[in-house]
Symmetry: none
Subunit: 198 residues, 4 copies
DNA sequence: GATGAATGAGGCTTCATTCAT
DNA sequence: CATGAATGAAGCCTCATTCAT
């Protein structure tokens, strides 16, 4: 097994272990020793890959956030020039799909996000989504928005925020499909309402 | 200074200190000693009011959340029977206003709200909002919704979630008024779209 | 109620409370606050009677130990000149009776005796018993002992030590009467064996 | 130094430190930090071997008590079938010898033994002694006892209780040899008196 | 490189004691 | 005198991090 691949495998194992422990023990009990143990490596090894605990947490959040950002960006790019309704649906859909792909991880990471100092990372990722969404909206034919930035911000805030609520709400964890439909409706309605013909 | 008042003052000081420390140090550095110190009391005193750190966090979150929930409930009750658009605006407005009243505290408490220990409280409060919102929607004349619960959930998730994003987003903290307008628009659009005449 | 009597009543209440708490919570949870509360007085009042917690514990142990010592001394004095067997029985009987009088307190105090610095008190009390016993043995007609001190020491050590074991042994707490008979037999046999005619 | 041996050495050091602190500071001042310090390890290390303070105390008491119990059991087994006097002497002798082997430790541990947390252990050990003694007495030729259990209990209570008193009594610590002789005499006398021919 | 025992700073909590009311 | 809220030293324990093997 080549070095690179082994590294990757170890890091994946560590990430997985982290998520699992987060889910079953909670942030408070997330210790480096426990993570290492669950990942099947020694603490020493863990520290070879991540200089601090915080670095591990940062890395794992970055990993998941960037996956989501990429998915959304890609979807946005592929739907440039589409009619507003289509674009809107694509955007919302891509986001929720990306989050749902590893729903457990998403749930788990929401609980850490306030513990580590990832505000910057979150803000940066949000900006990526915001930018991608803005480009998409601007590309829609026949329509334009009075102040795209505000609209885009609100759109993305609603999608990401509502999704968080849905994931963290015990009662709704099962109804994600319904939720997606609703949010799509909401965004479509919002955008159509905010748009003016051009 | 009569006993009751002194108690109240002490608890307020502790709450304030907690918020401040949350804002300047973060959850990870929120220690009972630090809170007591900042509040100008001894740790012992803190522990006379709250049996453990968790109880303090619970109490403070409960305090702020219930204020918000009350404000929203009241607004909902006062707008029962109003046209959909009015009702929607009242609901959204009440929520964001309540949150903005003590914006710093809101920002601070978002960082604690993902804590396992208060998850139930957060869920319970969300339920209060959900119920109040549901009653309001059901009371609107001339309209009805195919599945009110889904609609209400999505509405509240979007409002609360988006507000969280707005509060936590460094870039947007100043533009809360614009944000409120936008969210109001969004919710109105969503509800009108989801409603069917009756 | 005259001052003296009120004092006495308070101190009694405090002693009782201490014993009860010892019995139901254990030494570790014996706090001055709890004692005061159970005794129906404030901590401040408790501290008016006893300068430290240790003073309280010392006083209560002293109280019970001296009761026992007095009872034994009195019994010894009243049996001076009696035949060995009678004297022996009287001694043993007096000790166990005194301990049994407030069996709960005895049990409770055994658990504190190593916590407070009462070694001197215990030694001193043991000396009182030892002396009283020695005088009694020396007074017995027709017999004498080669080295009375050794004999007396062993006698008293056996009686007091065995009684402690009996009180602390969960299984035997009910059978104290049988135990007393047995110990009486043992002591009689020992003394008769150790005695030489004169 | 192989791992096992180092572990053993560490545990021994911790045990020794505990005994020493017990002797020089008393139970009340026995803190985990102090033990670790005296043992030349860090608190963390102490907690790697013992999950809490209670576990340490339990372990150390268990260690010493089981040594004593084993010694007594062995002596009892080796003297099965011996005449009463021989059996009695062997039993008493074995117990006191075992206690004397590490007299300091014995003295120290008496101060812990009334702790609630180890009460069960003490009772259980007493039962081992009781059982071994009972078997021994039953095996003696030509004699039997009306109720062996009562006799055995009293015998063991007297031996263990009196030994405790002797160890804890400042004045007698030097005269253990005399004490042993006396206790042997006492037990022999008791048993011969309690026995009936068969 | 990998390991995991050892470290010790620092967090939470208790409780003896004081002192203003 | 009595009260009991306030104090803060000190105890227990955890866990991120290091480093000898």
């Amino acid at each position: 097994m080549p070095r690179q691949a082994r590294s990757k495998a170890t890091i994946d194992a560590i990430f997985d272990a982290t998520i699992q422990i987060l889910l079953s023990y909670g942030v408070r009990r997330l210790t480096t020793t426990r993570v290492a143990e669950r990942a099947g490596v020694s603490v020493g090894t863990l520290y070879q890959y991540f200089p601090h605990k915080e670095a591990l947490l940062y890395a794992i959040i970055e990993h998941y956030l960037s996956q989501v950002a990429e998915a959304v960006e890609e979807s946005c790019n592929q739907n440039l020039g589409q009619p507003l309704a289509v674009a809107s649906d694509a955007l919302v859909s891509a986001y929720i799909l990306a989050k749902s792909k590893d729903a457990e991880a998403s749930r788990a990471l929401y609980t850490v996000s306030s513990d580590v100092d990832v505000a910057d990372l979150v803000n940066a990722t949000f900006k990526r989504l915001h930018d991608a969404g803005g480009r998409l909206l601007r590309s829609c034919p026949h329509v334009q928005f009075e102040n795209v930035d505000e609209v885009t911000f609100t759109l993305m805030a609603a999608v990401t925020g509502a999704t968080r609520v849905a994931f963290q709400n015990d009662a709704h964890r099962e109804k994600l499909d319904d939720f997606r439909e609703q949010i799509m409706t909401m965004c479509r309605a919002f955008l159509q309402n905010a748009a003016v013909d051009r």
